[in-house]
């Protein structure tokens, strides 16, 4: 503490007014009515991410070229950024503040770059030994199962991963075409995850049929079911079983399995979801003319917008407000399909307007091949009865995955119905976390409500309009006959430029503004933080006002 100098006698004084000390004795903090404090809030992107990736943080780390830390940040909530970075429908980006300013940050592309860096740097993945006594069976190696197994193993628990197919990956392998997610990337991701901890893999084993849930219940301390949706929903039409008509999923499985298939010249795909888009785009790559027929309009299509755009770009035609009515054959072979014209009626329970037939209006389309992609269903054989099920899905707690029997957890599409990869990852992780807390006797964490900041909370004077950096890709003309990955990903330079676009909403990114503008030199700049010196802060609140990202709040003194 600097003391105020006082003179007892003039003899102690200099002969002229001349300073001998600083003003630090003058604790101007007493002038303050309101105090500022650092108070980080939730970036909307994070709130928008189903698995709550700390997007703001890893983008910030990218701006500092701290890639390994950035990658690790993702891994805390998503073990496969190389995959989500390719296939996620990125709801984070629809929440990004920049969307209300110019264009959202391409979080997805940044995530992919980091995911790829992780694959190229296997050393980044810390390897964990089985340190815990409990064992968990994870059934299904799709995104939910893999995620659950990964987080359990990372915590030192031994996992046995059951998969009915020969190869791991589930829907990632069988449902997503090469041009979006190559088998090579998938294999690398899976093997990196398996190496991370004690995971034993059992492929070609159908749980519920070859091994019963009772057995698992007996042998393991917990069981996670992430079996997904494996059965295609049928059209329910006469002649559906015959030649020329196939479930989209089985077609995709063949294509993804590397089988050479000729879908024929004129192909029609029924449906508006991601499977429909995948089927259409695979068919177009095999040289077919493809029309997607959907019973509602483009606005109601459940497929990712980008997928629809890509399909259109590649030459897929769309026919909306129509549904197959009658299959026509010449002998065994399919010749044409008659369609019923539809219109939109009242909204159904999903909130979408229900399609209704326009009486008497039909049309016919000549077709060599028709794929149905109107949805998939869970195969609950051996599960139903043991666990409570509803709507042909397993009934489980949506947040933690707890099922009706104590040791059982479930997550992913088998619980939610057709959803997304990232939601399945989140479900797998959360179930793992819940199990771990149970094993360790830890209490459930308190739920804190997110304070999400938006554009109105920010000081946009500090931002300038910069367009999103487009992801390099192979030209659309070159896609025919190849299943090459379309997007080649950001270069280092683009990655950095795109990361710079992030506003870091609600969270300090060390822009120094508060420190720069403090008239009272009351903000100390420390390593990775700032400190407000309340002895001197007069409470002007310039720091709060000038923080571009609302990382400070105020509180009245004495309250």
């Amino acid at each position: 503490m600097v003391k105020k100098l006082e003179f007892k006698s003039y003899k102690d004084m200099p002969i002229r007014a001349m300073t001998l000390s600083t003003m630090m004795w003058n604790l101007t903090g007493s002038w303050r009515n309101v105090r500022p404090y650092y108070d980080f809030k939730t970036s909307p992107c994070i709130a928008g991410c189903p698995t709550s990736e700390n997007i703001q943080k890893y983008i910030y780390l990218v701006t500092e070229k701290r890639y390994e830390e950035a990658w690790s940040t993702i891994i805390e909530s998503n073990p496969m950024p190389a995959i989500t970075g390719r296939v996620c429908f990125h709801p984070c980006m629809s929440k990004c503040t920049r969307k209300d300013y110019d264009e959202p940050v391409n979080i997805n592309a940044i995530e992919r770059s980091l995911g790829d860096m992780g694959l190229d740097n296997p050393g980044w993945m810390t390897k964990v030994k089985g340190t815990e006594s409990q064992k968990v069976a994870v059934v299904g190696s799709g995104p939910a199962g893999l995620s659950c197994a990964f987080y359990l193993a990372r915590a030192g628990f031994t996992v046995t991963l059951f998969e009915m197919e020969k190869a791991l990956g589930g829907v990632l392998r069988w449902g997503i075409p090469e041009y979006r997610l190559t088998n090579e990337v998938l294999d690398r991701v899976i093997s990196s995850m398996l190496e991370a901890g004690p995971i034993e893999v059992k492929t070609g084993v159908e749980v519920g049929k070859e091994i019963s849930l009772e057995e698992l219940e007996k042998d393991f301390d917990a069981v996670f079911l992430g079996t997904g949706l494996t059965k295609s929903r049928s059209l329910g039409m006469d002649g559906e079983e015959g030649d020329g008509i196939e479930a989209g999923l089985s077609f995709l499985k063949k294509v993804n399995g590397g089988e050479k298939v000729d879908p024929g010249k004129r192909v029609v795909v029924i449906g508006g979801g991601n499977t429909a888009m995948d089927v259409a785009r695979c068919a177009i790559r095999s040289g077919s003319e493809v029309t997607v027929v959907y019973r509602r309009t483009i606005n109601e299509m459940p497929a990712i917008e980008e997928e629809i755009e890509e399909a259109e770009r590649e030459g897929v035609k769309f026919h909306f407000l129509a549904a197959p009515l009658e299959i026509k054959r010449n002998g065994d072979s399919l010749t044409s399909v008659v369609f019923q014209k539809m219109e939109l009626g009242k909204p159904d329970e999903s909130g979408r307007r229900r399609p209704v037939a326009v009486e008497g209006e039909t049309f016919e389309m000549e077709v060599d091949r028709m794929f149905s992609a109107i949805g998939e269903q869970a195969d609950l054989e051996g599960i139903d009865g043991m666990l409570d099920c509803e709507w042909n899905l397993i009934k489980a707690d949506q947040k933690m995955g707890q099922c009706s029997r104590e040791k059982f957890y479930a997550g992913g599409d088998v619980v939610t119905g057709a959803a997304s990869v990232v939601e399945a990852i989140a479900a797998g992780r959360k179930a793992a976390e819940k199990m771990i807390r149970g094993f360790r006797g830890q209490s459930e964490p308190e739920e804190i409500e997110d304070r999400i900041v938006g554009i109105d909370d920010m000081n946009i004077d500090y931002f300038t309009k910069v367009k999103q950096n487009r992801v390099p890709r192979i030209p659309s003309e070159e896609i025919k006959g190849t299943f090459r990955e379309i997007k080649t990903g950001y270069t280092d330079e683009l990655l950095e430029k795109e990361a710079e676009r992030c506003f870091s909403c609600g969270v300090c990114n060390y822009c120094d503004n508060c420190w720069v503008f403090c008239p009272d030199v009351a903000i100390h700049r420390r390593e990775n933080e700032y400190e407000i010196d309340l002895d001197y802060c007069k409470g002007c609140l310039i720091c709060v006002e000038e923080c571009p990202r609302n990382a400070l709040s105020t509180r009245e003194e004495g309250k």
């Binding site: 003039y10 004084m13 002969i15 002229r16 007014a17 001349m18």
Partner: protein
């Protein structure tokens, strides 16, 4: 080396010999020759100084304040209106305790415009806290400059040297010119400990509350009081080197004088001639020149005047509503210690000549009036 030079140039020579480092001035009659010669001296390298040719006297003093604060010896010269314009900064130099030396050529203040001598300009600066030394000859003027620096630097107080317009400033006299080399023996290089210095940073002159102001003012007065001895000592030191000394006051034939005329500036020489004449007539009269006006040499003055029967003070100035300023000072020096009558005479304002006959008139009046009614007597006013 002896030369016949004008009073103004004797100032310049004094400045050159004192090795002043920064000069800042603004021209005004009758001071102009001082700065003209100094400009020349700076130009031809006779003196190693920076001459800041400012746009006003206020700035001249302000520039000296800056230069002196930086630790360099600073000088300016002015007169009358110029000195009055400086007023604010004269205070500043005192409060800041800066040893600036200023030569003021006494000139009457307008309106009407007057370029001729009287002392109202410098005497109206009486209370700012500058030491004031009134000179009588060109030699004394020159010699007083290095003395002034030595006094100023020791006391950390500014010193004003005063000389009469024209009667001294423009009058040529023989002067034994002093040189830098000689002066160095008397006046050491100026190296203040406290100054504007980035290696020892202080803020000077910032806000001072009622808790400190009086003490700072007390110390200024203390310096002034100490000044009496310092001036005496410095004068002696000067005399040791140059063989000339001037003292605080200069009594002339006062030992047995019944009447003493008190003077300052060039009037002093004229008065001495009149004294000689009157002594020849057998009149016991003497004169006392006040050289140092601030600090006022109370004791020395008392010593001389207390032996007389009557004191007459000649003032080339007037404090309106009171009287002559020297007169007031003399009164206060004798107050309560004697009851000798003291009479004040106002003469020679605005350059009106104070001739021997004017002085004789004053002397006669002083001796004649046993009990003058008015203690302020105007001499030569056309009534």
């Amino acid at each position: 080396m002896k030369k016949v030079i004008m009073g103004n140039h004797s100032v310049s020579h004094g400045v050159m010999a004192s090795e002043v480092k920064v000069i800042s001035a603004y021209p005004i009659t009758p001071q102009t020759h001082i700065v003209e010669l100094l400009s020349e001296m700076c130009g031809n390298g006779d003196i190693d100084a920076k001459f800041i040719k400012v746009e006003s006297e206020h700035s001249a003093m302000a520039a000296c304040v800056g230069a002196s604060a930086a630790g360099s010896r600073a000088f300016t010269a002015t007169s009358s209106q110029g000195l009055l314009l400086m007023h604010e900064m004269l205070h500043w130099a005192v409060g800041a305790r800066l040893p600036i030396v200023l030569a003021n050529v006494n000139r009457a203040v307008g309106p009407p415009w007057s370029i001729w001598t009287d002392q109202n300009d410098s005497l109206s600066q009486r209370d700012v806290g500058w030491l004031q030394i009134y000179c009588e000859s060109n030699q004394e003027t020159q010699d007083t400059i290095p003395q002034a620096f030595k006094i100023a630097e020791e006391l950390q107080m500014p010193v004003m040297i005063v000389l009469d317009a024209f009667f001294l400033s423009h009058t040529y006299e023989i002067v034994d010119i002093i040189t830098k080399e000689e002066v160095r023996k008397f006046l050491p290089e100026y190296k203040p400990e406290i100054k504007i210095d980035t290696k020892d940073p202080h803020s000077f002159g910032n806000l001072g509350g009622p808790d400190v102001y009086m003490e700072l003012r007390y110390m200024i007065q203390e310096a002034m009081e100490k000044g009496i001895d310092v001036i005496k000592r410095v004068d002696k030191e000067f005399e040791e080197v140059f063989g000339r000394g001037y003292g605080l006051i200069q009594p002339y034939r006062c030992d047995d004088a019944e009447t003493i005329l008190v003077t300052s500036g060039t009037v002093s020489s004229t008065t001495r001639a009149v004294i000689d004449q009157m002594r020849d007539e057998g009149i016991k009269i003497g004169s006392l020149k006040i050289r140092v006006f601030r600090p006022f040499p109370f004791e020395e003055v008392f010593e001389v005047l207390s032996k007389a029967k009557k004191v007459a003070v000649i003032d080339r100035n007037i404090s309106f509503g009171n009287g002559g300023i020297f007169y007031q000072e003399i009164k206060s020096a004798l107050y309560g210690r004697t009851d000798i009558p003291i009479v004040g005479y106002i003469a020679g304002l605005g350059g009106r000549d104070i001739t021997p006959s004017v002085i004789r008139e004053i002397a006669d009046k002083a001796i004649g009036d046993d009990k003058p009614e008015r203690y302020i007597n105007w001499i030569g006013v056309k009534k």
